[in-house]
């Protein structure tokens, strides 16, 4: 491996940029790929699949074996709203291997006692989210029920390549939300990215059950093939 490739692997990880290294096993010929390079690579399909499963793998092409090293940034969930449901999500996210962070400008909610071992940012979304960075390996969830807080967060999420956007609220609440966001200039195709009512329909009632349905929906968005293809195309 060229020292330059090793440095780029390490730098990409530090900057949360996805990348891949393809090695021809016969002779060690290598190529380093950014997400943009992958679109044009002959192994594009295999690369997308490897990213979807987040697994490095050997692939065979015309009798040659290649090893694809995948380096995807750690998956994150940014939750807007330090509420009961997000408390349950924090524990589940840990089990599922996500870094979860909570944003809520209401300091009474966004306290460390309510969220032990979780990063809590007690700021408005337009302050907090640009600093945290919404990228293609981040899921965004709006749970405050308060348009003053949720809307600016959703607007930033819609302008970002984040792989999942969900918003709590009934169909009626969501219809009003869509109206507001349309007035703010978002097209129908953009707004279709918002999962609402949020979560897979498992009949959840308690905050923990709702958290479970949200985590399941995030998992499905990440792992099901059609959606993963889109994730790979959206880029970092």
């Amino acid at each position: 491996m060229k020292a330059d490739y090793l440095a780029r692997l390490n730098q990409s990880r530090a900057e949360r940029q996805p990348c891949a290294l393809v090695t021809r096993l016969k002779d060690g010929t290598q190529r380093f790929l950014t997400l943009a390079d992958m679109d044009r690579d002959p192994l594009h399909v295999e690369l997308v699949q490897a990213f979807r499963l987040n697994k490095s793998t050997v692939v065979e092409r015309e009798g040659e074996k290649y090893f694809i090293t995948i380096q995807a940034p750690p998956l994150r969930i940014i939750v807007l709203g330090a509420v009961h449901v997000s408390q349950s999500m924090a524990g589940m996210a840990r089990l599922l291997g996500y870094d979860l962070m909570v944003v809520d400008p209401r300091t009474a909610f966004a306290s460390e006692t309510r969220f032990p071992d979780t990063r809590v940012v007690a700021e408005w979304p337009d302050q907090a989210l640009p600093a945290l960075g919404l990228d293609a390996f981040t899921a965004f969830v709006a749970l405050t029920h308060d348009p003053k807080i949720d809307d600016p967060g959703l607007e930033l999420a819609l302008k970002s390549p984040c792989f999942y956007i969900g918003a709590l609220g009934s169909r009626k609440t969501h219809a009003r939300r869509i109206e507001r966001l349309q007035k703010a200039g978002f097209a129908e195709a953009d707004l279709a990215r918002i999962h609402a009512p949020i979560g897979l329909n498992i009949g959840g009632v308690s905050p923990a059950e709702i958290a479970l349905s949200i985590m399941a929906e995030i998992t499905a968005t990440l792992r099901l093939p059609a959606k993963a293809e889109r994730l790979a195309q959206q880029g970092g």
């Binding site: 090793l6 060690g28 050997v58 090893f67």
Partner: protein
């Protein structure tokens, strides 16, 4: 020294190389059956035989380190396979019954 992930191991490999040490990276590229470490796991070796990380539960690291010293010396990558298919397996094999392929390459300036 404990490193939390394979990623940290690659950072360490870069530091070793920058410090002027001869460095090889061993990577699990394929596994069959039950294997102790997943595909993508790294072991980093320097010219004096110091190493970090793991490619198995410890069963084949000794052999990988020995091979890595050759890789550092001649710069040519090698693909090593380990299994329990033969008599010598208990020496350089996997007691868990799995089989793994490990790619060893030098960090080139």
């Amino acid at each position: 020294m404990t490193l939390s992930s394979d990623d940290d191991i690659l950072s360490e490999a870069e530091k070793w190389h920058q410090a002027g040490r001869g460095v090889a990276i061993a990577t699990v590229v394929e596994t069959w059956g039950s294997a102790p470490r997943p595909v993508g796991s790294h072991l980093v070796i320097d010219e004096e035989g110091h190493f970090l990380g793991s490619v198995s539960g410890g069963c084949v690291e000794g052999t990988v380190v020995t091979e890595a010293l050759d890789v550092i010396a001649d710069g040519k990558p090698r693909l090593l396979e380990f299994g329990v298919a033969d008599e010598t397996a208990w020496q350089v094999g996997l007691s868990c019954g799995g089989k793994i392929a490990v790619y060893v390459e030098k960090v080139l300036s």
